[in-house]
């Protein structure tokens, strides 16, 4: 199984524009992403679960994810579970405000003092959850949950490039699109898998095709009965990838 990017925690904020609590979620998420746990966290815009691609919908399987919601409707947690995977943890601003005894939150454009305190408290709570999730072992990207026996698919080798995914508009899970039976299929994590197979010196052979299929199947559903065609398409993609990489080496 290939080593994929360094373990990070996903943050999904409801961002509810109608309420001050929604503004709190957005600003708290930003605090975690940019100040409290930069490098350990990534985010995605909630609507991308529907408006984006397969890589976006794989987000909560790829990263143990904390949903930050403004109110008891829990749009972020419920939508994440419905379209991507069950969040590993959840924070609700109204609960945090009640726990801290913060007064009414107001000012969806410019938060009042209670709102600003709620931002800090929510961010602090989310950052603590990030630490807990990073400490836990055994995140399975196949099931999108922690498991007892850890499949060693998480920690990248020292010096490996970290995922560049800290942007709000896209999950940052690398995807490739290839043709299978004349249809375009988008596969999450394929670029990384190809890179690692090439680094391992895997030959263009049937055995490699089977291994590619197995690795890709960890992160993507492979339709029953289509395995051989996927394996052939993956091997072809690997051949193209190796050719391109070799070309870079020669022209450099």
């Amino acid at each position: 199984m290939p080593d994929l990017p360094k373990k990070k925690v996903g943050i999904v904020a409801c961002s509810g524009e109608e309420l001050a609590e929604g503004t709190v979620t957005r600003l708290a998420a930003l605090q975690v992403l940019e100040r409290l746990r930069p490098g350990d966290t990534v985010t995605i815009c909630l609507p991308l679960f529907l408006a984006g691609g397969q890589g976006d919908r794989a987000f909560a399987k790829f990263y143990p994810t904390i949903a930050i919601d403004g109110c008891a409707e829990r749009c972020a947690a419920r939508a994440t579970e419905r379209y991507s995977g069950e969040p590993a943890a959840s924070v609700v601003v109204t609960d945090v405000a009640a726990e801290r005894g913060l007064g009414p939150l107001a000012g969806r454009r410019r938060l009042n003092e209670a709102g600003q305190l709620a931002v800090a408290a929510t961010a602090e709570k989310a950052a603590a959850l990030v630490d807990e999730l990073l400490e836990k072992k055994g995140w399975s990207r196949r099931t999108g949950a922690f498991v007892e026996a850890a499949p060693a698919a998480f920690e990248a080798p020292a010096g490996a490039p970290a995922s560049a995914a800290t942007c709000a508009c896209g999950s940052g899970i690398p995807v490739s699109t290839l043709m299978v039976d004349g249809q375009a299929v988008t596969l999450a994590a394929l670029p990384l898998i190809l890179e690692q197979f090439r680094a391992a010196g895997k030959a263009l052979a049937d055995q490699t095709a089977r291994e590619l299929l197995e690795a890709v199947g960890v992160y993507n559903p492979i339709p029953g009965g289509a395995e051989e065609r996927y394996a052939a398409a993956l091997l072809h993609e690997y051949q193209v990838f190796c050719g391109q990489e070799q070309g870079k080496g020669t022209s450099a």
């Binding site: 904020a13 409801c14 961002s15 509810g16 524009e17 109608e18 309420l19 929604g22 957005r26 600003l27 998420a29 930003l30 992403l33 985010t43 815009c45 909630l46 609507p47 991308l48 679960f49 529907l50 408006a51 984006g52 409707e73 749009c75 972020a76 419920r78 939508a79 419905r82 379209y83 969806r108 454009r109 800290t166 942007c167 709000a168 508009c169 896209g170």
Partner: protein, 138 residues
């Protein structure tokens, strides 16, 4: 406008990590809170993502203005997927191209350029809302 008349719905993008997302949201607030509070209403994108029946009914029953922060156009896509008709689709980048002097910066807090760009966008959207309201009354 009578209290029972339908309002023009405004749906901004939910982007939290980019300046243009912040501009889209600020513009939506300027329209619905300052420029046309009586004739427009804000709907949160997260409710549409979840398929909230009330939010879906609102966008399905009224003309909608969407304001997107990037080319993924989540707001426009979600309104359409929710059964709504997008009467006018704004993209912050397009508006910025018409107002090059208003360079937006900042996410949690927009700079002066970002705030003024949001106002410019809101002015355009308010004119669209007026036209839609007039159509609805005609």
């Amino acid at each position: 406008m009578s209290p029972n008349a339908r309002r023009v719905v405004v749906v901004p993008c939910s982007g939290i990590g980019k300046t243009y997302g912040s501009v889209s949201r600020e513009a939506a607030y300027v329209i619905t809170e300052e420029l046309r509070p009586e004739t427009t209403a804000l709907v949160a994108l997260s409710q549409l993502v979840l398929g909230d029946p009330a939010a879906r009914a609102v966008v399905a029953g009224a003309p909608t203005i969407t304001i997107d922060g990037c080319q993924l156009a989540c707001a426009s896509k979600m309104v359409r997927e929710s059964g709504g008709a997008v009467a006018r689709e704004f993209a912050v980048l397009e508006v910025y191209r018409r107002h090059r002097a208003l360079k937006p910066r900042g996410i949690a807090e927009l700079n002066e350029g970002g705030l003024r760009l949001a106002e410019a966008l809101a002015d355009e959207a308010a004119a669209v809302a007026d036209a839609l309201t007039a159509d609805g009354q005609g």
